[in-house]
Amino acid sequence: MAARNDQDASYQDLLHTIISGLSDGILVVDTGGRVLFLNEAAAGLLGRSREQLLGREFGYPLVGKEPSQISIVQPDGIERVVEMRASAPTHWQDADAFLVTLCDVTRQLQISERLRRIEKMFDHTAEGIIVTDEEHRILEVNEAFTIITGYVPEEVIGKTPSFLKSGQHSPVFFRAVFNELEKTGSWTGEIMNRRRNGEVYPQWSTISVVRDEDGYITNYVMNLSDMTVLKHAEDELWHLAHSDHLTGLPNRNLFYDRLGQMLLNARRNRNKTAVLYIDLNEFKDISEGLSYDIGDHVLKEVAGRINGCLRSNDTLARVGGDEFAVAAGGERTGLDATALAVRIMEAIEQPVRYNGIEAFLKASIGISLYPDDADEPRTLIRNAHLAVYEAKKREGGSYHFYNQIMHVETEEKFLLNSMMHKAVMNEEFEFHLQPIMELAGEGLKLAGGEALIRWHHAERGYISPERFIPVAESTGIIKRITAWMLEQACSMLQDFRDGGRDGLYISVNVSAQDILQGDFVAGVAARLQRYSILPGRLQLEITERVIMEDSQTIRRRLEDLRALGVKLAIDDFGTGYSSLSYLKTLAVDKLKIDHSFVRDLPQDRSDLAVCRAIASLAHSLDLTVVAEGVESRAIEEMLASLACEEVQGFLYGKPLPAAEF
């Protein structure tokens, strides 16, 4: 018997060990709900010691077929969710009792709730999502994927996404994508894909690698958004931005491109190229004095006549209201360019007849030569343009070569530079502000001002920024001028704030040279702090040309400035050609439509189309649109109809000295 008792005792010890070692909680309660027994795990889950719980009323454990979820707030305030099961009444030391088991499901519930949230996101996001296994076999796609590609999940699960290929990318392209994925864990870019209906479409994609804890790839996740709408706008804008609606000729932008191409050829073949800048002298009198109709007719007629003077490889463009430019390649020497200029002048001087009216015109032509005067398109055109001013100084039609003024130019530049140094030291510059208005639903509201520099030289009088800023940029003194402008702007913003006008902002133009300085961002941050100005009240404007250089440093600086909270605007937008996909990745807030597209509204249909395209494009990228050069209510109304947010121009006042703003 003793042996039997010993056996019982050791068996009980064993049971005790097992029960107290279980991770699930075990409780025995009597029919009144009082605790008769509990193991360590149960005490832990209930957040109290066994001693505290023994004999205490837990409650009658009413559990149906399904386990019951109960909550316990533990002493540290954290809620745990426990699944409770109870047996039918059994015997415990000669009385009826229930055996209750408790299992902690808190973590499980958190995970399933998170999964539910993710599932919702996956199903309802507007971006298509493809999840594949490590061998690129599709595991899952979402609804947006079906909307974009036309494929339903049943058609694609188990396949690799290669059925989306358009055939427009080489194996080299895909290798580069996978190399990047391998190296950085993700790839972002544009891919041309094919929809189920065969249509090829541009897709903005991000592919990410998912790895397990040991670093092995388990999945790929691809997010895709359809860029078709954006692309259409981009193509349309390209077309609008490169041709002149009235004459059908290339415009200034396309002229740059074409001239660039011609210069490449000229360099290869060691040829000369001439650029002729043609300005119609009396055109304004005709179009404003007689009618816009005849003005349009004259421009078309002149375009045709100039074209008649050219050879097939030459390029003619309309570069301004009454300005044309010719790029003539081949073996022309300076003398040939003279002959061409004379032929063009003679052609233009023939009277233009329209509805019984005869219009007489004369042309002034500026000429610059490659490689003598410059070796890149922009400077070549600028030089030809400068030469036009010289030509215009003479009565009637005339032409002028740039190299005749070049010498004077260099001397002038030298003089200007030393004058600017003095001007910075003697504070000869003045800080002016041109009002920028908000085109709100109900009328106009002052939003802020663009900072403009004015220079009255003691001896030479007023010197236009268009004259001295390019020189300042080429000699580097622009950095000191910009620093001065920023200082003035911040001081002015402080005055605004103190004067209760703290909603106003000031926009300051900065050049590539400014941004490229290593301490530029720090300098801006320091000023904002010194004057205690909200960063969003300061806006910096960079021209589209600077953006187009696609410099990594500039891009980073823009991101840093944006991180400070400073607003960024792209100035002169529309004159260059920014790729949309590129624009999309830049840290900017606003596009400013160049005044050349605005001032001839609402009559000029091609300008209107450009403005409309820029506005819709900007809005699709969540950018604000500002129009410059607004000179009439008619223009303003037109811009309002394009949902343009802000406007500036003489209609709202000329630039004012800061004190009068």
């Binding site: 709900g33 209930l46 109290r48 719980l53 205490r56 009323e57 837990f58 409650g59 009658y60 454990p61 009413l62 559990v63 149906g64 399904e66 019951s68 979820q69 109960i70 909550s71 316990i72 707030v73 809620e79 969710v81 426990v82 409770m84």
Partner: protein, 98 residues
Amino acid sequence: MAKQQIMSKYRFKLYITGSSRRSRHAVDNVEWICKSLTDPHEYELQVIDVLQDPRQAEADNIIATPTLLKTEPQPAQRIIGDMADREGVKARLVYNEA
């Protein structure tokens, strides 16, 4: 019937934790049970959130929720669980009632 003749009033306290789905279901279940037990003016149900009112929970010795206390009529009762087995809970509440 017997209940109406006695005219004894039911008093309940339902302890819950926060406003989770679990808590809402428990409240729905207990309201259903109360209404099927007696007329609306014949019972009183107090719902107490242990997070809002930990002192009262402590005073009533609440270990976990949902816990339903019946304080009137005697004998007092304490039931723990999600109250999803409505008929089971109801049967338990009238059990022991004279």
